[in-house]
Symmetry: C2
Subunit: 292 residues, 2 copies
């Protein structure tokens, strides 16, 4: 497709320009030549850089509004809402809940609860617990759960993102706590299938904590299997290597809001990587633990 | 706004849950407790983390399609198309071009050229030089320029992004080569004004090289002045600290395409940070060097 660079005159121009550039460098102010930042690079820890291959793609979308439902068919989707929807779902299933119904909106949550007498219903909107609902954060909600019981769960971004992905080949809930377990499961269960890491975001906004979570999941997937990462997936990987998760979560916009409400322990819990092997998968409209 | 966490029962639940968590940890498989990645964190090099402040916002959009023209008023916009539109504009003005007309499309470019007899017209679409145009990459194009002459320039993403920002308070072209000079200029010339770093992207796709460029510019701006970074700006900063620019550019999708066409020298040139003090600003529809 591209031929200009193989054209001998173009090569000659480039060599001439490189000589020209050295002259230009001589005119550059010395203070500009020294890099401003003392950066330690550690990209050698990344799994091999992408090459042309037949490996399935690994992509990241930074907010649920960017999902094109027509492009979900055949894809494995991992929804990521680190503060707190998917972290809560992972923790709730780990704490013994049998199934979590991810509600699309308030009416959907009420209808789902009406079909399940005695079910626990938890929810928040804009980080506030909804009236009459159990709290929507992992540690606080776990105290309301009944072992073997169901949960109806409504959040501003995460459960809506899960509900929007019904057309995918498979839908999982990903968090920092289950990144490696989830990655190994996806590689084993869906060989050769493209994977989309869907950051829930925050009402159309980019969420730092979800992007960092996507970076950890992308690295875990590429450690476990062979994928062709897109530019967005690589950017998420690099970002997740530029800061530690606890710092990222408490620095994020949502993290600062919930820390201001005294929920630092919830943030610290959500920031802990690879603490459990719970793999929540969407089956018949509810999230259940996938079989290993 | 948020009060649940200040509620004594909620604090009690959280403490109980923390005790519960330690029990849960006892059930965790030991191999999952050890972090998988040997990550060296260096976030202490970042300028102070954001706090509630009256500092102007610093935001990053990952593709030109995400621009809301209604929200440009009062904002300083820096358009970033590292491979190669804005890198080329910086280099062309540094090499002596008087003004660069950023064309919206082919017809716009032809009309602009017709109004400027003898002007150099350069352009590419999807990384191929357009027929009858000078090449659109920094080093190759510089050999076609006349000192003091004008340039009409059309690219797939970058010049279209610049043309789409006419409603902003000011529009600049940013690249790795002029990051620090541009940041110092913006801080001095636009005190207190919000800044939007607009990644051109690639036909609606996220471009790694532009996001890395935005990260370098965000860090340069926060080194020079006081800004409140959004989550997207912080993510770009972290990503730019997770990999060195040369590696990022050659790893990106566009970088792999142009490297395949033999343009490695152009990539290396575009990846060099802070090599010049050229600050291209949009004035009366053309990009010219801003006065220091």
């Amino acid at each position: 497709m591209l031929s200009a660079g193989r054209n001998p005159p173009v090569r000659t121009w480039i060599l001439a320009a490189m000589r020209h550039l050295r002259l230009l460098h001589g005119r550059t102010h010395p203070s500009r030549v020294v890099p401003k930042y003392r950066i330690k690079f550690h990209y050698t820890e990344l799994k091999g850089m992408p090459t042309a291959s037949s490996a399935p793609s690994l992509h990241v979308l930074v907010r649920r509004e960017d999902v094109d439902p027509a492009r979900l068919a055949g894809r494995v989707v991992v929804v990521i809402d680190v503060l707190f929807a998917t972290s809560t779902i992972v923790h709730a299933l780990g704490a013994g809940a049998a199934a979590v119904y991810p509600a699309r909106d308030d009416g959907d949550a009420r209808a789902a609860a009406a079909r399940r007498p005695g079910v626990v219903i938890a929810g928040e909107y804009m980080a506030r617990t909804l009236p009459g609902h159990a709290p929507a954060t992992p540690l606080a909600l776990a105290l309301h759960l009944v072992r073997g019981g169901d949960l109806v769960y409504l959040t501003t971004n995460g459960t809506r993102a899960i509900a929007a992905c019904a057309g995918a080949a498979a839908v999982y809930a990903g968090a920092l706590g289950n990144a490696t377990a989830l990655a190994r499961h996806v590689v084993a269960r869906h060989p050769g299938q493209p994977v989309l890491l869907l950051c829930a975001g925050s009402l159309g906004r980019f969420s730092l904590e979800d992007f960092i979570g996507a970076g950890h999941l992308a690295r875990a997937l590429r450690a476990a299997g062979d994928y062709a990462p897109t530019d967005a997936a690589l950017a998420a990987e690099f970002a997740s290597m530029g800061i530690d998760p606890g710092r990222a979560l408490s620095t994020s916009r949502v993290g600062r809001i919930v820390a201001g409400a005294g929920l630092e322990a919830e943030i610290a819990h959500a920031a802990a990587c690879d603490t459990c092997d719970v793999v929540p998968v969407l089956r018949d409209g509810v999230l259940v633990r996938a079989q290993a």
